[in-house]
C-alpha cells in the first residue's frame, strides 16, 4: 500500500527526470509514451487506492457514523521518513489519504492524463516538445505532493512547485518577450499570496506547536469561535489562496497566463493549480468554521470576484482570455461556497469545473490549432460545420458551465447557490446574477466562434480542418465527464444519494458539527430556486443568440467608439493600468532611483574611490625603490632597530 502511495507522485517525477535530463536526445514518440504513460500509471494506482479505500472497513455508510477524530485514528497519515527534526519541531514526510485528498488525486491524475494525451497532438510540431512534457510531469508531481501532504510544509512544497511549473510553462515560448513578462507577473503575484501562506504557517506553528493537519484540527476545534489568532491564521491562509486561485485583488496574472500553450492553460490555469487555494481552505475547514469574520471577508471577496470577472468576460474578444475570466469567476463561486460553509459543494464544483473548463480550453485549443494560432473570436465564426467534434464538445462544456440541467455544472453550481440562499439571500441574488452572466458570456463565445459565417482570412478558410484523433478523443472523454459529472452528487430533491457528500462527510464532520446549522429550505423552495436560476440562464442564452446570431452584433473593432460603461468594462476596468500606476511604476521609479543615485553616485564612487586611493598610494610610494642598495640596507637596519626598540618599550 505504502509503495503504491510513494509511486503515485514519484512516477511523474521520474518522467520529469528522464525527459528533463535526456532533453532532445529522446525521440518524440518515446517522450509521448513516458510523459503520458507515467501519469496514466499514477491514475491507475490512485484508482486502485480509491477502490481499496472504498471497499475497506470505512465505506460510505460508515462515514456518517464516525466522527473525524475516530476516522483519523483509524487511518493515520502514511509516514515515509523524518524530514525536518530540530528540537521541538518534528516534521515527518508523510501523506494523508482521506476522501478529500483521494478526490483530488483522482481528479489531478485523471485530467492530467487526458490533457497529456491531447498535448501529444497539440504540441506535435513544437521544437520544445521534450521540455514541455518534462515540465508537465513535474507539475503533476508537485500537484500530487500538494494534495497528498499530511502537513502544511509538504503542501507548501507542492504549492511553490506548481507555481514554479506555472511560471516555466507560461513562459514556455520564451523567445517572446510579452510571454516572459506574463510568466514573471504570475510568479510575482503568486509570491505575494505565498507570503500570507508562509506567515499563516508560522502562526499555526507558534499557536498549536505542530504543523500536522490532524493535530492542528484536533486542537483547534476546542478553541473559542472568533478567536483573534484563528482569524489571523485563516486570513493569512486565505491570502495565499487569493494569490494562487486568482481572486480580487491578485487575479490579474491569470488572464495574462494565457500566454502559455493551450494544454497548459487547461491543466494548470483551469483544472488543477488554481483550485489549490480552494483545496487548501477545504482542508483547513475547521479553522475557517471557527473564524466567522474570515468567512465574511472571503464571501465578499469571492462574490466580488465572481461578478467582476464575469462582467469582464462579457466584452473580451480573445477566446482564451474569456475562458480565463470565466475561470476566475468560477473560482469565485467555489470560494463563495466555502464561505457559506458548503465545503462539499465547493469541492463538487471544483471537480465538475475541472472537467468542463479543461474541456473548454482543449476545445478552444483545437479551434486555435485549426486557425493556425488566431485567437480573436471576431475573426472566427461558422466553425460548426468544419470542426464538428470540437463544436459538439464545446457545446456540451458551455451548457455545463452555464448551469443547464442535466449537465454537471448545474448540480454543482446549484448546490452552492442553495447554501448561499440558506446563508444570505442578498448574496444569493448577486450570485444568481453572476450565473446568468456566465450563461451569457459563454454562449456569446459559442455563437461568435461556431455560428454564422467564417470571418477570417481566405488562407485560414482554406486551411480549416478538424483536429486529429489524438486531440479529439480527449475532448470526447472530457465531454462525457463534463456531461455526467453531476451524477457524483445528485441532491435528495432529485432522489439522488448525494454520494460525494457522504464520501467527504468525515473530512467535514467536525466543521459541520461546529457551525450553526442554517435554516434548511423545503424541497418546494429548492425547486423554485432551481427554476429561477434556470430561467435566468435560458433567458440569457436566448438574448445572446438574438444579439450575436440574429442581429450579428459584437464585432466592433478595438478602437470603435463605445459608451463610457462599455469602454470601461472592455478595458477590464483599467485594473492592470491601475496596478501599473500604483505598484509597477513606483517600483520601477524606486529601482531607477536606487540605480542612478544610490548605486552610481554613492556605492560606485566608494568602490572606485578605494581603487583610486590604492593607485595613488602606489604611484607615490614607488619612489622609495631608489635602486640604491646602501639605502635599502639602511632602511632595513633602521627597521630592525625600531622593532627591537619597540620590543623593549612594550
Amino acid at each position: 500500500m505504502k509503495i503504491i502511495l510513494i509511486l503515485i507522485p514519484l512516477l511523474p517525477f521520474l518522467g520529469f527526470l528522464i525527459l528533463g535530463l535526456g532533453f532532445s536526445s529522446i525521440p518524440r514518440k518515446a517522450t509521448s509514451y513516458i510523459g503520458a504513460g507515467t501519469i496514466l500509471i499514477s491514475f491507475i494506482l490512485s484508482l486502485f487506492i480509491f477502490l481499496n479505500f472504498h471497499n475497506s472497513a470505512i465505506s460510505p455508510p460508515h462515514y456518517l457514523a464516525t466522527s473525524l477524530p475516530q476516522y483519523f485514528a483509524t487511518s493515520p497519515p502514511h509516514y515515509l521518513f523524518s524530514w525536518i527534526s530540530i528540537g521541538q519541531l518534528q516534521i515527518p514526510f508523510s501523506f494523508l489519504i482521506d476522501p478529500l485528498s483521494l478526490l483530488m488525486m483522482l481528479m489531478v491524475t485523471g485530467v492530467s492524463f487526458i490533457i497529456h494525451v491531447y498535448s501529444i497532438g497539440y504540441m506535435k510540431d513544437d521544437p520544445g516538445y521534450n521540455r514541455f512534457f518534462s515540465y508537465m510531469n513535474l507539475f503533476v508531481f508537485f500537484m500530487l505532493l500538494l494534495v497528498m501532504g499530511a502537513n502544511y510544509p509538504i503542501m507548501f512544497i507542492g504549492w511553490e512547485g506548481v507555481g514554479l511549473c506555472s511560471y516555466l510553462l507560461i513562459g514556455f515560448w520564451f523567445k517572446n518577450h510579452d510571454y516572459n513578462n506574463a510568466a514573471k507577473k504570475a510568479f510575482i503575484m503568486n509570491r505575494i499570496g505565498d507570503l500570507g501562506f508562509l506567515l499563516g504557517m508560522f502562526l499555526i506553528f507558534t499557536t498549536f506547536n505542530s504543523l500536522d493537519f490532524r493535530e492542528i484540527f484536533a486542537r483547534a476545534k476546542l478553541m473559542e469561535p472568533g478567536n483573534p489568532i484563528l482569524i489571523t491564521i485563516t486570513l493569512l491562509l486565505f491570502m495565499g489562496a487569493v494569490g494562487k486561485s486568482a481572486q480580487i485583488p491578485l487575479y490579474t496574472w491569470l488572464p495574462d497566463a494565457m500566454a502559455g500553450p493551450t494544454p497548459v492553460s487547461a491543466l494548470i490555469h483551469a483544472a488543477t493549480m488554481v483550485t489549490a487555494g480552494v483545496y487548501m481552505i477545504a482542508r483547513s475547514n475547521i479553522l475557517y468554521v471557527l473564524s466567522p469574520l474570515t468567512m465574511e471577508i472571503m464571501g465578499v471577496t469571492a462574490l466580488a470576484t465572481a461578478l467582476f470577472a464575469a462582467s469582464i468576460a462579457v466584452l473580451q474578444n480573445d477566446i482564451k482570455k474569456i475562458l480565463a475570466y470565466s475561470t476566475i469567476s468560477q473560482l469565485g463561486y467555489m470560494f463563495l461556497g466555502l464561505s457559506a460553509g458548503a465545503f462539499t459543494g465547493a469541492m463538487f464544483h471544483l471537480t465538475t469545473h475541472a472537467f468542463f473548463k479543461a474541456l473548454l480550453f482543449l476545445a478552444a485549443g483545437s479551434v486555435i490549432h485549426a486557425l493556425g494560432g488566431a485567437q480573436d473570436i471576431r475573426k472566427m465564426g461558422g466553425l460548426r460545420s468544419r470542426l464538428p467534434k470540437t463544436y459538439w464538445t464545446f457545446l456540451i462544456a458551455t451548457i455545463a458551465i452555464a448551469g443547464i440541467p442535466p449537465l454537471s455544472g448545474f448540480f454543482s453550481k446549484d448546490e452552492i447557490l442553495l447554501h448561499l440562499f440558506e446563508h444570505n439571500v442578498t448574496w444569493w441574488i448577486l450570485a444568481f446574477a453572476g450565473s446568468a452572466l456566465t450563461a451569457f458570456y459563454m454562449f456569446r463565445l459559442l455563437y461568435l466562434t461556431f455560428f454564422r459565417n467564417f470571418r477570417g482570412s481566405d488562407q485560414q478558410k482554406h486551411h480549416l480542418h478538424e483536429s486529429p484523433a489524438v486531440m479529439t478523443i480527449p475532448l470526447i472523454i472530457l465531454a462525457v465527464l463534463a456531461a455526467l459529472g453531476g451524477l457524483l452528487n445528485i441532491p435528495a430533491v432529485f432522489g439522488g444519494g448525494s454520494w460525494l457528500t457522504g464520501f467527504l462527510a468525515p473530512v467535514f464532520a467536525d466543521a459541520v458539527a461546529l457551525s450553526v446549522p442554517p435554516a434548511t429550505v423545503s424541497h418546494a423552495t429548492e425547486w423554485l430556486l432551481m427554476a429561477t436560476t434556470l430561467t435566468g440562464c435560458l433567458v440569457m442564452v436566448f438574448w445572446a443568440w438574438r444579439r450575436y446570431v440574429k442581429q450579428a452584433k459584437g464585432l466592433l473593432p478595438d478602437d470603435a467608439k463605445r459608451s463610457l460603461v462599455v469602454q470601461l468594462v472592455s478595458k477590464k476596468y483599467y485594473i492592470d493600468e491601475l496596478y501599473d500606476f500604483l505598484f509597477v511604476k513606483p517600483a520601477l521609479w524606486l529601482s531607477r532611483f536606487l540605480h542612478q543615485v544610490v548605486e552610481l553616485r554613492f556605492i560606485d564612487r566608494i568602490v572606485n574611490g578605494v581603487g583610486q586611493v590604492v593607485v595613488w598610494t602606489g604611484n607615490t610610494v614607488r619612489y622609495v625603490q631608489t635602486g640604491n642598495v646602501g639605502f635599502y640596507m639602511f632602511i632595513m637596519i633602521l627597521g630592525i632597530i625600531l622593532i627591537l626598540f619597540f620590543n623593549i618599550l612594550i
Binding site: R622, Y623, Q625, G627, N628, V629, G630
Partner: protein
C-alpha cells in the same frame, strides 16, 4: 675548557657586539661589493663566536653544532655571492654599488 670559562661571558658579549657593529657599518658605508660581502661575513662570524661561547658556558654542545652548520651555509653563500660579483664585473666593469642601481621604480 677551563681557561675559556675564566673569561666572563659579558666580555664575549661586548666583543661580539663590537664585531657585529663593525660589520653593519661596513655594509652601510662601503661602496665596494667585495668589502660589503666581507662585512657580512664579519657579522656572521660574530654570531658564530657568540654561539660557541654560550654553548661552552651552558655546557650544551648544540650551539657548537649550529656553528658548523652556519659555516657551511656561509661558505655556500659566499661562493654564490662571489660568482655574482664576478659576473657583474664582467658585464659592467665595476663593483661599485652606487652604479648598480638600474633596478628601480
Amino acid at each position: 675548557m677551563t681557561n675559556l670559562t675564566t673569561i666572563p661571558i659579558h666580555y664575549y658579549l661586548i666583543f661580539c657586539s663590537v664585531l657585529f657593529s663593525i660589520g653593519v657599518f661596513g655594509v652601510l658605508i662601503k661602496r665596494n661589493v667585495l668589502v660589503i660581502l666581507m662585512s657580512i661575513e664579519l657579522m656572521i662570524n660574530s654570531i658564530n663566536l657568540l654561539l660557541a661561547a654560550f654553548s661552552t658556558y651552558t655546557n650544551d654542545p648544540a650551539g657548537q653544532i649550529f656553528v658548523f652548520f652556519i659555516m657551511v651555509v656561509a661558505a655556500a653563500e659566499v661562493a654564490i655571492g662571489l660568482a655574482i660579483v664576478v659576473l657583474i664585473y664582467r658585464t659592467t666593469h665595476s663593483i661599485d654599488i652606487n652604479i648598480l642601481n638600474k633596478l628601480k621604480w
